[in-house]
């Protein structure tokens, strides 16, 4: 992993007194899809902006595509695609012009951007809206246009900050499929998301950030094995019948209390469920499921993914 597209050591970002990123090491390998998970304010976007060379680092080292953003910002930006957390489309231009003019900022020829824009409109399923203004598009359409725009320069590295927030399920699945195609073509991708299914589906490797630090790192499967165990029993109790953690703990590896339910982490869900039953506890409902990244997230940050 010596010469991956992104390499950070002790990377920090300060805004005045406040430190948003507090010394993180990141290694992204060529061709992989790398994820950043973390609660609001964890420092994901701040990190993404440093990698995108639009926010100078406060400390540490950073190499993007083998270059230093402080010295070679424009050359790096020429080779990456960026989907910012908040759409910043050009409202004075049409959908098509948004793609064409943006391509021109990269120094691409008129002919090239014309052809590329047509492809990308198809990609984003916006061909019918090509000559409409941007303003009246739905939120999901704007998002799709922003994503299409990030591809106009055929980037080697794609940075996607919450790409699917605001998309309907169908559009999300379409985007996942498109991102998979890009991955097969060797495009390295860095994604932040609040959707654990998205992270599990897309990411080869991911890190969980909290309070400006990386608190865990690995493949989705590794993280689940390490931090959540194999299975989870979800129990819902009537408030007056809800048992204490101490009553549940002997039967499982770990207990997590949420406002509306109790989660029991164990290697064998069925067995744990019967044990609870034998102990005379009577939940309103019980569900045995496999552990997911959401459980990892909850364990590491004390919060649910989408709060």
């Amino acid at each position: 992993m010596a010469d991956g597209p992104v390499q950070a050591r002790g990377l920090r970002k300060r805004f005045g007194e406040f430190e948003a990123v507090r010394g993180i090491d990141v290694d992204v390998a060529q061709g992989e899809v790398f994820g950043f998970l973390g609660p609001n304010g964890a420092g994901k976007s701040s990190t993404m902006r440093m990698i995108a060379c639009v926010s100078p680092r406060s400390d540490g080292t950073l190499q993007v595509l083998g270059l230093d953003p402080d010295l070679q910002g424009p050359r790096i930006r020429a080779r990456i695609g960026v989907v910012p957390q908040q759409d910043n489309l050009d409202n004075e231009l049409t959908v098509r012009e948004n793609l064409e003019i943006y391509g021109r900022y990269f120094g691409l020829s008129r002919r090239h951007v014309k052809a590329r824009a047509a492809e990308l409109l198809e990609f984003a399923q916006l061909t019918e809206r090509a000559d409409d203004a941007v303003e009246p598009l739905s939120g999901g359409m704007k998002r799709r246009l922003t994503i299409a725009r990030s591809l106009v320069n055929d980037p080697e590295l794609l940075l996607l900050d919450e790409p699917t927030t605001g998309l309907d399920p169908q559009a999300r699945h379409l985007l996942w499929e498109r991102l998979y195609q890009l991955k097969r073509r060797g495009v390295t991708q860095i994604i932040t998301t609040h959707y654990m299914d998205e992270a599990e589906q897309l990411c080869d490797r991911l890190v969980v950030m909290d309070g400006g630090l990386i608190v865990a790192e690995g493949t989705p499967a590794e993280l689940i094995r390490r931090w959540a165990g194999r299975e989870v029993v979800e129990l819902r109790f009537l408030p007056e019948r809800r048992p204490s953690v101490a009553e549940l703990e002997p039967h499982v590896d770990r207990v997590e209390e949420l406002p509306d339910r109790v989660l029991l982490y164990t290697s064998d869900g069925e067995a744990a469920q019967s044990a609870v039953h034998r102990a005379g506890l009577r939940p309103e409902s019980a569900l045995v499921r496999r552990s997911t990244l959401e459980d990892v997230f909850l364990r590491l940050t004390g919060r649910t993914l989408v709060d």
């Binding site: 805004f15 995108a52 060379c53 639009v54 926010s55 100078p56 402080d70 010295l71 070679q72 910002g73 424009p74 050359r75 930006r77 020429a78 080779r79 960026v82 910012p84 908040q86 910043n88 489309l89 050009d90 409202n91 004075e92 231009l93 012009e97 003019i101 943006y102 021109r104 900022y105 990269f106 120094g107 691409l108 320069n153 055929d154």
Partner: protein, 274 residues
């Protein structure tokens, strides 16, 4: 996909932080021109304003005033006196409007420049591109107004041809300084300060009456104002009273443009690349 273009302002570029100029500001002109295709009516309305002033003041007020001493003391008609002043003022007004209100909106609200900075473009490309657009617009208005002056017989010398490039330089300098000032503004309220700077200049910087009406101390104040130098420059050229002193006025605007551009480029970078 390399940074092809050789920078056109090598000296200035070396003074700027690394990566702030990709030599591609003309793409911003392309963008503005594309956007303007749908708002051409608004843009055309900029022609009308100085012409209205010329008619109202030149013809209306002029019939009462008669003639005034020109730059060399030889009397000229009131219309011929104020026309170059209006030309200078319209170059100022157009440039200031474009580089303050429009730039502020793009900077703070539409996040347009954030999107541009995710590409190889740097803050100086943006500053130059936006100033360049203000300049094109200013040039268009100045040509229109000069045509009106020619038709009305207010251009009495071939030197008047140089009034167009001079107007462009004046517009450039005002746009650069306007943009630099905008980068310090925090809210729309701050724009009252722009009006506060521009309107008195328009009224008092010898646009409508000669410097000799003021007491000496006020003359000194007026002589420091940028619009005063613009009016002197235009009046000299359109009446054909050309002397070396005009170069001094030119130098004033060259310095103003360079300072404005350097400050605007740096401030935009500091604001956007956080």
């Amino acid at each position: 996909m390399t940074l092809a273009d050789p920078p056109r302002l090598p000296v200035l570029v070396r003074l700027l932080p690394a990566g702030s100029y990709a030599g591609r500001s003309r793409m911003l002109l392309l963008r503005s021109a594309t956007a303007a295709r749908r708002t051409w009516l608004v843009i055309l309305s900029g022609f009308a304003e100085p012409v209205f002033y010329l008619i109202a003041m030149g013809a209306g007020l002029g019939s009462l005033v008669g003639s005034l001493p020109g730059p060399d003391g030889v009397p000229i008609s009131y219309a011929a006196f104020i026309a170059p002043g209006l030309l200078a003022a319209s170059a100022m007004n157009g440039a200031v409007f474009d580089s303050t209100f429009n730039v502020f909106f793009k900077l703070r609200h539409s996040k347009l420049y954030d999107a541009m900075l995710a590409t190889p473009l740097g803050p100086v490309d943006i500053a130059l591109g936006e100033i360049g657009w203000a300049l094109l617009r200013g040039g268009l208005y100045a040509s229109g107004f000069l045509t009106v002056m020619a038709v009305a017989g207010l251009l009495t010398s071939p030197w008047a041809l140089l009034a167009l490039p001079a107007a462009l330089l004046v517009a450039f300098a005002f746009a650069a300084v306007g943009m630099a000032a905008t980068s310090f503004m925090r809210s729309w309220q701050d724009f009252d300060l722009v009006t506060l700077a521009v309107l008195p200049m328009f009224l008092f910087a010898t646009t409508f009456f000669p410097l000799s009406v003021y007491p000496r101390w006020l003359q000194l104040v007026v002589e420091c104002l940028p619009l005063f130098h613009a009016v002197e420059l235009m009046r000299g050229l359109t009446t054909g009273v050309v002397h070396l002193g005009l170069l001094g006025h030119l130098a004033y605007f060259v310095v103003m443009a360079l300072i404005g551009l350097a400050v605007a480029g740096r401030r935009l970078g500091a604001l956007l690349l956080r």
